[in-house]
Structure formats: C-alpha cells, structure tokens
C-alpha cells in the first residue's frame, strides 16, 4: 500500500477553558490515502469538528501527530481547504462571487478572469447563479452553506475538509450536492475528509467511514463502503450496521433516559 496522504497517529486534542480541561478526541488514529472519500461519523460533541480543525492546522495535538505527505502539519494552508460548520464563514463584505474568487486569488491558485470563470462555474453548480452578486447577509442558511461548498470545491485542493457541509440543505438539494461531489470526484479523484451526522450520507459519499465514540471521541471502527447500502453476510444492511455500532450504549442516551 502506498504511503498515506494524511496520517493521523494517536492524536489527543484538548481545549483548556477557565472552567475545565475538555478532551475532545482521545488517541485517534487513521490514514487517508490519495483519492479516498473519508467520512468521519459520530455523535454530537464527539470531536469531529475539532479533529478537522487539527488537520486544518488550527489546533495542535497535545499528544500524537498529524502528517500530511509525511511532514507534520504546523499551520493552516491552502492545500487543505476547509468548509466549516458555521454559517458565518463567508466574508460579509464580499458578494457570493467575490467570496469564491477571493479564495482562489488569496491562495494564488488562479487570478483574473480565470478565477472569475471558475467561481461562476462552481456557483452555478450549487444552484446559486442567480445570487452571484448578493451579499451573504441576504442569503438563507442553506444558501450560505452552498456558497461555502462552492468556494471549497473551486479550490480543488489536495485534500478537502468538509464539516457537515450539507446539514442545512433540504432533501433534494442535499442529494444533488452529494451527486455533484461524487461526479467531481470521478473527474479529478481528489481526496476528501467529510464530517457528517447522516448515516445514509456517509454510506453514499464515503469510501471509508470512521466511526467515533461519544465524547471524548475515540475510534470505534473503520468501515469500507462501495457507495451502495449493501447487505453483508448476516443480511444486515451497511447503514443499519453502522447505526448499531455507533449508538450502542451511548452516554447521551443514558442521560436522556435519566432525565425523562
């Protein structure tokens, strides 16, 4: 097997606040190879976003190491483009088109009319051609997320980090975006690290699915998927199997029972 593009080894991530020390992930290890569609799946608050931020270079592990192409990640860079979970990731002072162009120009990926063309192409792809000249504050939540997706994809980075990119989208748009992602992947075979809550989405989008346990996040299982919700030997569908594996005896569930 070739050397992994992204090598996450025994990574523990922590936040220090004035109240307490929060361990977001604990000794998480996984490898992403070039061309993988790697999905991270786990309950709310288990450290998925934190893990992605660490890969993005925004956060240093307190333990373990993250290597990209063999060199440890030390700072953010345009080789790992991130689509954040938050709605405020668009620059409010730039229109939709300018937001996408900005990414291309700032990272010196493209410039001038090339940047413009590519920006418009990806904006049309996410169905926002009509809003290309609108400012972010005039967009709906889902529209904002789509702009962020267009911006991330337009960058065509070595590895695309996406944090629940489709969570704010309606069923149809979501399905279209998933298809679009897969189609693009067919074209360019880029690498994507994808966080989601939705098991069907994970099964559809991912070639590899990493299951994390609830807070603090630890690796539960790594599942391989061929994109279809296939049944395994024991007749269990993949999504059902993941569901079981993921949610067996969750602390969240216990707490809910306790409160009820």
């Amino acid at each position: 097997m070739s050397a992994p593009l992204l090598d996450v080894r025994d990574v523990t991530l922590q936040y220090k606040t004035s109240e307490r020390l929060v361990t977001a992930t604990q000794r998480v290890s996984f490898q992403v190879h070039a061309g993988d569609r790697f999905v991270v799946l786990g309950p709310s608050g288990c450290g998925k976003s934190t893990l992605l931020k660490a890969v993005g270079g925004y956060l240093a592990p307190v333990e373990g190491e993250i290597r990209l192409n063999g060199t440890p990640i030390r700072k953010p860079g345009a080789d790992r483009v991130m689509v954040f979970q938050e709605f405020d990731q668009l620059l409010p002072w730039k229109t939709v088109k300018e937001n996408v162009k900005f990414a291309l120009v700032a990272s010196r990926t493209l410039s001038g009319s090339e940047a413009e063309d590519r920006a418009l192409h990806y904006i049309a792809m996410v169905g926002l051609a009509g809003s290309a000249n609108s400012y972010p504050h005039t967009l709906s939540g889902g529209m904002k997320q789509r702009v962020a997706i267009a911006r991330g994809m337009a960058m065509q980075p070595a590895i695309l980090l996406m944090d629940e990119p489709f969570a704010a989208l309606d069923a149809l748009t979501r399905q279209q975006m998933q298809d679009e992602l897969l189609r693009l992947w067919e074209d360019t075979r880029f690498t994507v690290l994808f966080v989601t809550h939705s098991i069907p989405e994970a099964v559809k989008v991912g070639s590899h699915i990493l299951l994390l346990s609830a807070h603090p996040g630890r690796v539960r299982k790594l599942v391989h998927s061929d994109g279809s919700d296939r049944a395994d030997a024991s007749g269990l569908r993949l999504s059902e199997r993941i569901h079981r594996q993921l949610f067996e005896s969750e602390p969240v569930a216990k707490e809910l029972v306790h409160a009820a």
Binding site: G56, P76, G77, M82, D88, Q89, W93, E98, A106
Partner: protein
C-alpha cells in the same frame, strides 16, 4: 473596495432596514407627506440643527451678555464677515491642511502598530503598554520633544496631532481586530493569508464597524488637539490657523468672531460626518449587513 458605483444611491433604502425592531406596519399603504419627509434623514437632521440654533438664540437673548455668550445671529454675522474677508477661510484651510496630514499619518501609524500587535505577542504587549502610557498624556507633555525634533512650526503641530490620533484609533482598531469571529480568522488563514495580507483582507474589513468609530474619534480629537496646540505652539509669521484665529479674537474681545470660529469647527465636523463618514458607512458596513 466598493465594487460598484451604485452604493451612494442606496442610502435612502437603507434608512429603513427590512428587519424592524419597532412594531411593523401591517401591509403597505401610501405614506402621508409628513411621514415621507420624516423618512429623509437629511431633513430630520437639518430640522434638528434648526431647533438647536433656535435654542441657542433664545438662551443667548435671554442671557443678554454678548461678551460671554453671543446670540446665534450675531455669530452668523461674524461668520459671514469672516467668510467675506477671506480671513476665516484662509485660517480654516491652513488648519485643515495640517489636520489632514496629521490625521492621515496618525491613522497610518495606528494601522501599522495594530498590525504588528496582532501579529505577535510582543507587539501586542507593546501596543497595550504604549497606549496605556501615552494616551492619557496631554499634548503639552510632548512640547519639549516636539520642539527638539521638529522646531517651531508645522512639524511640531503634526507630531502632536499624530499623538492625539494614533492612540485612540489604535485602541479601537485593536479591539475590533480582537473581536473578529474565529471562523473568519480561520477562513483567512486557510487560504494562506498571513501578515499584512491577512490584516488588510480579513481583519480590517471584518473589524470595520469598530475601526470606523475609531476613525471618527480620531478625527474629533485631531480637531480638539490642533485648536489647543495652535495656542501652545503659536504661529510662525503669517500662517496661523483657526485656533489662533479664536485666540486672537478672544484677546480682542471679539466674542462673536470667537464663536464664528467655533461654529466653523462645528460645521466642518458636521460636513465630515455627513458627507465623508456616512458615505463610507453606507458603502461598507451597511452594504455588508454588518450594521443595523
């Protein structure tokens, strides 16, 4: 930065934000003329100024002590005379020129210092310490150094002006930079922005509402300082700005002219606010939805 020329035309629209905090008016109905007029900010403000002028006139008339507080009309007369004779315009022009140079330099320096401060921990300490130290110092404190370094004349005045602009602008800008949303910071870093590019492309626009209030404050303090400093530093032959104009007239007990000088300061302040700062606001933070 404003990508098209349409933005000044939108100021009318922006007066009534779509998201009302006041009880919304159900449905649309033709507005009564009074209401329509009340919607024009310029008109409302002019009315307000007229009310203030009437109050001034009334109070001064009742006081009837022209040496202490002349009436509005007497002041207007003196203003008119000053304008006709050209003295006031020439003085104001002199002061404005200095002001602009000092203001621009101060703002630039503030930008540099804050850029440095945001980039490194030492820079941050430096900015915080210097601001805490020098911001409260009155201009006279700088007098000896100003004279040593720049001698009499414009150089020293500009030095003092910079002192009065630099710290408040730096303080507001720094506070603005620090409260930029972490997500936006991360986005900027993600696309490889560091150093000055990071500051100019992410921090400055993101912190613009704060920066704008810093700029307004800086402008106001530049005026205050310059008027006062002109008295301290005196004037070289012939020159003399608005501050000296006020001082001279005070000495000659031409109190209406003193007030005419002050009125000039007020008028320039109003013009700056309503023409320059408001346009900037409309073309930036309001357009971007960063301002209610």
């Amino acid at each position: 930065m404003p990508p098209d020329a349409r933005c000044p035309a939108t100021s009318g629209t922006l007066e009534a934000p779509p998201l009302l905090n006041e009880p919304p008016i159900a449905g649309e109905r033709p507005l009564v003329l009074v209401e329509q007029l009340a919607n024009v900010a310029a008109l409302r403000k002019i009315l307000l100024l007229m009310v203030l002028a009437v109050l001034w006139q009334a109070y001064a008339s009742r006081l009837d002590n022209p040496l202490l507080f002349p009436t509005f009309t007497a002041t207007l007369e003196a203003l008119w005379e000053g304008l006709l004779s050209g003295a006031l315009i020439q003085r104001a022009a002199f002061t404005l020129k200095l002001l602009l140079v000092g203001y621009a330099s101060g703002v630039l320096l503030a930008g540099l210092l804050t850029g440095l401060a945001i980039g490194s921990r030492l820079g941050n300490d430096l900015l915080e310490t210097l601001t805490a130290m020098f911001n409260p110092l009155p201009a006279i404190a700088l007098l000896p150094l100003a004279l040593l370094w720049f001698g009499l004349g414009a150089g020293s005045l500009i030095f003092v002006l910079i002192h009065s602009v630099l710290w408040p602008v730096a303080l507001c800008t720094h506070a603005g930079f620090k409260s930029v949303s972490p997500t936006l910071r991360m986005v900027g870093r993600n696309y490889g922005l560091v150093g000055p590019r990071y500051v100019t492309r992410i921090l400055i626009p993101a912190a613009f509402p704060c920066i704008l209030s810093g700029l307004k404050n800086g402008w106001a303090f530049a005026w205050r300082t310059l008027i006062a400093a002109e008295l301290v530093f005196g004037v070289s032959s012939g020159s003399g700005g608005l501050g000296w104009f006020i001082y001279e007239n005070k000495n000659q007990l031409e109190i209406p002219s003193v007030f005419a000088g002050l009125l000039t300061v007020i008028l320039i302040g109003l013009a700056m606010e309503n023409l320059v700062f408001r346009s900037i606001e409309v073309c930036t933070v309001r357009r971007w939805g960063m301002h209610a």
